[in-house]
């Protein structure tokens, strides 16, 4: 956990971001800020360019125009060599997990530690086992190969690897995709837990309405190549933009909202009593 004297500072600032795939304009001068220690969700319909936005923030894809500032680095001006210090400070969990199939879960999590720290092997093994336990996996998962894991365990192992170097900034691409409700809920609780414990800034790309209500401090809705609304879920629910309404006016949207309200009541009751 790093100390930030000015915690209202933006961790990520995206300005005038423009991306084209051939004739197709994906982002049209898009602006976005992510504040320190918040859980920020990016949502939007399929093909709205949210995954591309994520890939641009984590330096896997170059936008056609615009600037991205992240943790005081000007991301688009970094060459590979200068990007390494920045990459070490961010953790990414990919939608398919991105776990290396030829390594056990323990080796997967230990790999960034072996690569970037001066810790000896036993300590690295211990730390990775500890991180794996932190994400709620059983101890024997350390020796398993990714192909032997169930979907929920896979996501948790991927999260453990993303957390290996104690990043300040964590990117999660569809962390609950393909999980059963219990596992999805577990991942949501885990994200909140980690944020509280480590003071992480978390950027989530998701379709999961329950997760949005559960963890997101602020949500940005992307539509038509721009951010068409930013705010907490409660604030967004009052906005009338056509790209925002489906998150609240569809049966699923309503169900998630009611569920969140019910949980909120339970929470308040617990705190009151």
């Amino acid at each position: 956990m790093a100390d930030h004297p000015d915690s209202s500072k933006n961790v990520i600032e995206v300005r005038g971001l423009t991306t084209r795939f051939g004739q197709h304009l994906v982002h049209d001068a898009l602006d976005l800020e992510v504040r320190h220690a918040e859980t920020f969700a990016i949502v939007g319909g399929s093909g709205s360019g949210k995954s591309t936005l994520l890939r641009e923030m984590i330096m896997l894809h170059r936008p056609d125009a615009g600037t991205i500032r992240m943790l005081d680095f000007n991301v688009l001006e970094l060459d590979e060599e200068h990007a390494v210090p920045l990459r070490r400070r961010i953790g990414v969990m990919f939608q398919q997990g991105g776990l290396f199939a030829s390594m056990t879960v323990g080796e997967n999590v230990g790999m960034p530690l072996r690569e970037f720290t001066q810790l000896d092997d036993t300590l690295v093994d211990e730390i990775s086992a500890w991180k794996i336990a932190l994400t709620g996996l059983e101890a024997d998962a350390v020796l398993k190969y990714p192909s032997e894991l169930s979907g929920g365990m896979h996501q948790r192992a991927a999260l453990a690897r993303a957390l290996a170097l104690d990043p300040e900034l964590l990117f999660l691409d569809e962390p609950t995709a393909g999980l059963d409700p219990a596992s999805a809920d577990g991942v949501g609780a885990l994200i909140r837990d980690l944020r509280d414990l480590l003071g992480l800034t978390v950027v989530i790309i998701t379709h999961d309405l329950d997760l949005l209500w559960q963890v997101a401090d602020r949500v940005a809705v992307i539509g038509g190549g721009k951010v068409c609304g930013v705010g907490s879920m409660a604030e967004l629910s009052a906005m009338q933009h056509v790209d925002i309404r489906p998150f609240f006016d569809t049966p699923r949207g309503r169900a998630a909202q009611q569920d969140a309200a019910r949980r909120g009541d339970v929470q308040r009751m617990k705190e009151g009593g």
């Binding site: 956990m1 001066q118 086992a129 336990a133 020796l143 192909s147």
Partner: protein, 378 residues
């Protein structure tokens, strides 16, 4: 912050029971300290002590974990977070330290002990047995699928069949042609010295003709096709297994053997003899070029002599091997592809196995042919 210009983690001992920590207790800055752990050995688990964190710049989970391990319960002592007096930590750091202590150290699971060589020998023998069974099983399934196709010709998959003929045959022609040409050149070149010493220049025709037609053309072609198409078959089918396409076929009621294996097998059965024929021609041409260059055997003389040196039997012996080689390559490639289990990694392993096994089996088959032909006096 962990951006390079932060101070490394350090520890000092002020009052008899006070540890003063300083610097960045983060994963990137703690490595140096972690290698000098002997200084923590004097920490006794029982005594009351103070851990002063007012000079700590940063703390992350690894730092907290190591503080917990080295200072809170050193060795195997059972002291916990509550037994230590914490001084100068921010509330967030305090929360982290408490949480880390609560989670406790996790026991490292032991990797299962390596089984004895006898067990491993048995396992790998069983694996070879399983593979052989799968191989033979697929041969049978292909035969059944072929019989079904003959009975219902409308079910024949012409498009994939023709596609594989084009890919495995037509596209292989340049490389097969070039390599056989060079092979013919090399054989003639190697023989030239010996033959000219005895003045038997014209026998270069026998040398090139016999060795190319009987042995080298079928073998070289089979090896190239195993490397090109056998590998491709294994990789294609392996990827289809990994992406559940093969399962999808099964649930649609389409036999993967009929849809995927049979067209490939039949395509190779057609293509490999043709490629071998082409290799025969190119090899002889290569020998012919060399014969004129080194041995002064004219093209006309060479061509005149050729029917005397090699008869149709020789040609048939060479071409007769080709379908067998084709079956070996196609079946091994498909079996290895279909036996892929796991992820992307396994596709590579299976592809390697397919190529190694098919080349091995092709050469074994070739040796058996030689034995059989010599017994039959062919």
């Amino acid at each position: 912050m962990s951006d390079g210009h932060s101070l490394p983690a350090a520890i000092s001992f002020s009052a008899p029971d006070t540890w003063v920590l300083s610097g960045s207790w983060t994963v990137l800055c703690i490595g140096e300290l972690a290698r000098k752990t002997e200084q923590f050995e004097q920490v006794q688990g029982s005594e009351r002590r103070v851990i002063d964190g007012s000079k700590v710049d940063a703390l992350d989970t690894v730092g907290a974990m190591l503080i917990d391990r080295w200072l809170v319960h050193p060795g195997a002592s059972r002291t916990t977070y509550a037994d230590v007096e914490w001084f100068g930590w921010t509330p967030a750091q305090d929360r982290l330290l408490e949480r880390v202590d609560k989670q406790g150290a996790c026991s490292l699971p032991q990797a299962p002990a390596r089984s004895s060589w006898l067990v491993r020998l048995g396992m790998s023998t069983a694996a070879v047995g399983g593979e052989t069974r799968a191989l033979l099983g697929l041969v049978g399934e292909c035969a059944l699928a072929f019989a079904a196709t003959v009975q219902h010709p409308r079910r024949a998959r012409w498009r994939p069949f023709l596609h594989h003929i084009a890919i495995a045959g037509l596209s292989a022609m340049p490389i097969v042609g070039l390599l056989s040409l060079l092979m013919g050149v090399v054989i003639a070149f190697q023989g030239a010295d010996q033959l000219s010493r005895y003045g038997a220049n014209v026998f270069v025709v026998d040398l090139v003709g016999l060795s190319m037609l009987r042995e080298f053309a079928p073998l070289v072609t089979a090896i190239i096709v195993a490397g090109r198409s056998g590998a491709a078959f294994a990789a294609q089918l392996g990827t289809m297994v990994v992406t559940e396409e093969v399962d999808a076929l099964r649930t649609l009621g389409i036999s993967p053997v009929e849809q995927l294996v049979l067209p490939r097998l039949l395509a190779l059965l057609v293509v490999l003899p043709l490629l071998t024929m082409f290799a025969d021609v190119m090899g002889v041409v290569g020998g012919m070029l060399m014969a004129r260059g080194r041995l002064n055997v004219d093209y006309a003389v060479f061509i005149d002599r050729l029917p005397l040196a090699v008869d149709q039997g020789t040609l048939a012996v060479g071409l007769g091997k080709a379908p067998i080689f084709a079956a070996i390559i196609a079946i091994v490639g498909c079996v290895q592809g279909l036996r892929t289990r796991g992820g992307a990694d396994a596709v590579g392993t299976q592809t390697t196995r397919a190529v190694v096994q098919s080349i091995f089996l092709v050469i074994v088959a070739d040796a058996l042919f030689s034995v059989a032909f010599s017994l039959l006096d062919l």
